[in-house]
Symmetry: D2
Subunit: 425 residues, 4 copies
């Protein structure tokens, strides 16, 4: 069977392609020469499967899409406190290249505007501009899963016209946000923006964020979960420049665009998406990219506020057999799911002497859910003097120490657990 | 067994109570008289279970927490187009009671600031102020699951000092956003804010949003999913006034606070949470409420950007038996989950003549996932000339029309499906 | 002889009339019905001579031109401290009807925007709205030199559409700037704006400001000089709305416009000017009025920064006759003029025994100049042991007490003074 | 006799010296080392007399006080159109070193903030930075009447910390306001600011502005009157940073301060004033300087809105002798003065056959006054068939061509004029 997914993506592209307005960026000739008709899309799942349609293997400069990744790297290298003391997390309402500093602190509003991105760049480890840039290139290469290189023409052309970024750099120096030579930092930042990527690369980089910081193909942890959460939060509220609320309500997924026509989106736990289409709207976002994301969000139910029912039916069923009360738990179990199990036990008659928690259908157990189930084990054992066993063939509940000396007995099958609790009784 | 959840909440309360700064609202005597030491928390799951600790059954006026619910009601009554043409969705960066209108359109920035909330109130169906207020009271009562009534003392006191809201009302009239008499509309809005609720009520109201608009206890649909998505989006970006980005990155759940000390949060698909504690910080948010939410988010992994792994392990296993390839699908299956199944089939050898999709462990199948699985059925049947059956005892995939005249055969058990495909072969 | 001045004004009107853009105010029908072709100009000198051309005797509502006069009245009634604590003096850069309050203090930026004008209105003496309005009507009538009355149609129509002013009133109440009922104050303010005037009236009112607060025809003091200085300062920096700097550099005279098409200018010490032409530009200023003022400023050298030579040639000549040194002083003598006289004496040989200061050609002696000349008398008399006499037939230097027991001897003619100093010698 | 003026100034200094708050600028060590107790004042009249008290001959860097002079030079060198197209004239409300560019045009708000001053510097003639700086040094030297030189220590120290100015320079480059290399322009601007001056120098420079652009000692015209008017207008509305309206209403004279403690004021037609006192307030203005100007304005009646009575008593008297009507005109005669004369003639019986305008007491005749008097001559001669003569020994009315072939007959004395008109009759 041919996978229908590429067909689906192709159909999506067709529906989002028309006589769009907009124009390619033209502030340097290297970008102005881009073919406005290019259109590519790539998706990579958290399991590492990548689908592409169209111009997904064409090189273009990463530009501002580098911002969330460098921000994440700065959080690792300099630590949260240092980064948060120098870069805010508030949407600025301003266009992407304004000098937007918070009035009292002088901090850039957020790491998605240039002032914040330049600051984030400066907080990456490295003795000098060259070292920082190389560290970023290596990290981005690990994210993309291949060696990335610079577009030297774009790089030198951008530096020649970097007056606004130099203005920002000097202003950041003035207010004490930037250490070191502003010209050197800006030079490095511009080089970072000139890294060549493809839509395919970007989808894998985005999928790494969707996957909590672990590159889905190599399995390498490239960001801590806390850094991913922070970067995605900022992408959600500040990623699409001056219409954060509009993007949130219409599309509802963390995203970031670049002036060369790239646009990425991250659906936590599911996929990374990247579009490449150089025609830009007035906000500097890819025209077709935005249309595609709007369609994807509607069509695929990707909006973050689409209600998943993580709390429903975690308790698949319960039954009493041979005086043993068995609770079948299933799916992704987080607080609300664990609560359903706990409630059922707490509200029951509890005439039985033994209990079995069957977790064989659970494929993810959140931390709070884990603690709640262990507390159930502890209470049943110590307070209610019941026998308790857990069925957990996939070890979704490792280290079953319930506290107060109680450790749950774990078995691979229900029948084994049955034998145990009955013999113990 | 005693449920451990109240104990958990109690422990949470204890950890978040200290010598907080802040003070109760004092712009009217009725609020100034509030006991600053009150503290209650309530949680309601999407299945309708409610847990409370502390002062969760003390009445207080709903105040600004009415805003997202009235906004949702306005979306239903007046329609999205009408509401979006009059109220924006952008964070304003301003304090809650400023007159914040967008420069070009004159629209209030969002429905969480007073200007937007007054406008939303005016868009609720009703011949006059009285009718609108009664409609809101009835709707809020349905949300809370009990008859709510007004705090008449708060209501009349607020109206006597409603100068700023009257200023806003007249300004909205000036720019053509408000129809009707501004004084009448403001009177109704103030009455809406004086509805008495408890933390318990609010947690159920919030759980209705978490549950996609369906009241978890009565099962009544009170909002359309699209209205819930919109209201939650706006709460996320604009709900906590002038620090949207900070709230998003630290807490990461849609929330709304009121000046009487209430604070609600909504975790889509899981729970509604409400805190009541009258001491306010400089932003007008409950001091302890904010601390509790920060703790809850960290402790319970509630942050929206915490990565759930909805795409992992949807394909529980696959095996070949008697020349039939069986794919066991499980859990909440959305795009990424369906992709894993599709990929496995597409990449397989496909030596077998028959295929079974076992959905008996699936408890939610997203729309795009449904379409993808049906397309798999269609392709296998029509293009690859295979036999295909679906096992779906819970009817998570109703109406299995795959298109092109292909309808999947559905069975309650794998063995029935086996018999069918083998006999057909 | 026919005075050429009306001919000059007529010529000016002709040159400033063309196919102007702009339109009459149309927010109420009473203003929308104004004849856009009306054009009148009136000038009144500080001696009370009035010249008019065109529609200078057509009634129209005074509107915002009432603002500087009510401000002056508030300064008298409430005192400088009270007024300055409630109304700022800074240009706001905003359009005239915005709610512009200073961030920290909540004060309206200045008395020329509506928020400040409503506040100024509220600070005029009067038990209630009616009393304040009558006091204003009487004062304006005294300024114009005839009984003014209200345009009742404009008044009631404006009140019906006064939503923005009511918004401002309530906002001022909120921030504690306004005492009393905002609706009552706004009603009074709107009534103030509906007073009917003609260009002739306005030119006399403006001439009263030009004349330091004394009505040039009746001689009645209607404002203290300090209030005039304050009102003119504010007109200069804030009178023409959002282009204070442009008006200052191009026209350079204090001015104020009204939405019914009036526009006044004040040239301190010389004239009051009023134009009436209802077509307005985007700033709400009379199109032809602005053109006329630009022309007048250029043509008549009215710009405040045109350099008068008040310091030059105050010392007309000096000569020694019969051993007496006579200093002929002339013109308007202020600091720099007095300095020239003082310097000539101080730098002289001082061989003579006697000195005469001939002030018969002086027609104004500023306060500091007066003190300087008396100090000269004191020093010559006491320290240098000279004889000194003053010739002052017009008593431009009354009360010639030079301090330390020295009183200058004053005579009507030089020859009398001569006789005196020589006999004394 | 000792001139009392230094005594007056000394007394003024004593009254304005106390335990002021404030501190010397400390952003570079060279300024931080300034003696905070230094205090000097200098005044120069339009006739070139200079008075000084205290530390009036101590060198300090001119800093921002260079701005109005460089602006005037740019107006000369580049022309009004070019300068106005690149620098606005509106007060910005911002602190002096903010990047304040108008939103639509990108223009700096005005030439008194750094962005505008850097732009003005770039518009001075000169092939490169060095040439521009030398041209400015020479021009400033001509203004001060002595060779000025640079404070090299201040200059290099300021350039080392010039991050904000470099930020501004690059931003100006970005928006197309600045041509050439921003670093080069900023280097030149900083050098301009490091010119050493004394309070004495500054008072002479200010007096040149007071004197309409002519250096009072050398008589050299250094600015055109139009450039002076423009520079003074901008000083008045934008010179004292973010409190333009306050300065206008309290002090009311065009002024400019510098961060080294200098402060100049210009009283058009009278004097230039300079104070040197290094302690600065929060606005960056000299604390004692501001106090001195407030006192000077009040004490010496220097406020621009103090009403001079230029229109009063221009007609000293009129009398009929031997059938000839003689009008004695006096003082500074501008529009209002001429009007008084014209009116007297126009309203008279006109029984006489001959008229004499005696201008021997006039020491300045404005352009419009000149035209009005000539028109009187024309009308009396041509229309009323009268004999007319002018007495004008000082040639205040040169070129007495009244139009239509009428040329006034001019005489040195009234008796000569009498003989003429009677013989002609």
């Amino acid at each position: 069977m041919e996978s229908p997914i590429p067909d689906y993506l192709r159909e999506l592209l067709d529906r989002c392609t028309g006589n769009e307005q907009g124009a390619v960026a033209d502030y340097i000739p290297e970008l102005a020469r881009a073919n406005p008709d290019r259109l590519g899309i790539a998706m990579t799942t958290v399991e590492g499967a990548t689908y592409t349609v169209g111009d997904a293997d064409i090189d273009f400069s990463i530009q501002s899409i580098s911002k969330p990744f460098t921000y994440g790297l700065a959080l690792s290298d300099a630590g949260f406190d240092a980064v948060l003391s120098k870069i805010g997390v508030e949407p600025s309402g301003d266009a992407f290249n304004e000098i937007s500093l918070e009035e009292v602190t002088g901090k850039p509003f957020n790491p998605m505007i240039n002032a914040g991105a330049i600051t984030a760049h400066s907080l990456v480890n490295g003795a000098d501009s060259e070292a920082r840039v190389e560290r970023i290139r290596e990290h981005f290469s690990a994210l993309a899963g291949r060696e990335l290189s610079f577009d030297e023409a774009v790089n030198s052309s951008e530096f020649d016209t970097a007056h606004r970024n130099l203005a920002i750099g000097y202003m950041l120096k003035t207010v004490g946000i930037l250490e070191g030579d502003p010209v050197d930092v800006v030079r490095g930042y511009i080089r970072q923006c000139s890294l060549n990527v493809t839509a395919r690369d970007l989808s894998i980089m985005a999928a790494t964020l969707a996957n909590g910081g672990v590159q889905p193909n190599t399995g390498e942890r490239l960001f801590w979960p806390s850094a991913v959460r922070q970067a995605l939060s900022v992408m959600l509220t500040c990623g699409m420049y001056d219409a954060a609320g509009d993007w949130m309500s219409v599309v509802g997924i963390p995203a970031k665009s670049g002036v060369a026509g790239g646009l990425i989106g991250v659906l936590p736990g599911q996929i990374g998406i990247a579009v490449f289409s150089p025609k830009l709207d007035d906000h500097g976002n890819s025209v077709r990219g935005v249309k595609l994301f709007e369609r994807l969000s509607r069509d695929m139910g990707l909006h973050l506020m689409e209600t998943p029912t993580l709390g429903r039916a975690s308790l698949r069923s319960d039954y009493v057999k041979d005086g043993v009360h068995v609770f079948e738990v299933q799916g992704v179990v987080r607080f609300a799911g664990a609560e359903a199990v706990v409630r059922s036990i707490a509200e029951g008659d509890q005439d039985e002497d033994a209990y079995i928690l069957d977790l064989s259908r659970v494929y993810e157990l959140g931390d709070v859910a884990r603690r709640m189930l262990l507390e159930v084990v502890r209470r049943l054992t110590l307070l209610d003097k019941k026998k308790v066993a857990i069925v957990d063939p996939d070890e979704v509940l490792p280290d079953p120490d319930a506290g107060d000396g109680v450790t749950a007995d774990v078995f691979a099958t229900v029948s084994e657990a049955m034998s145990h609790v009955k013999s113990a009784a």
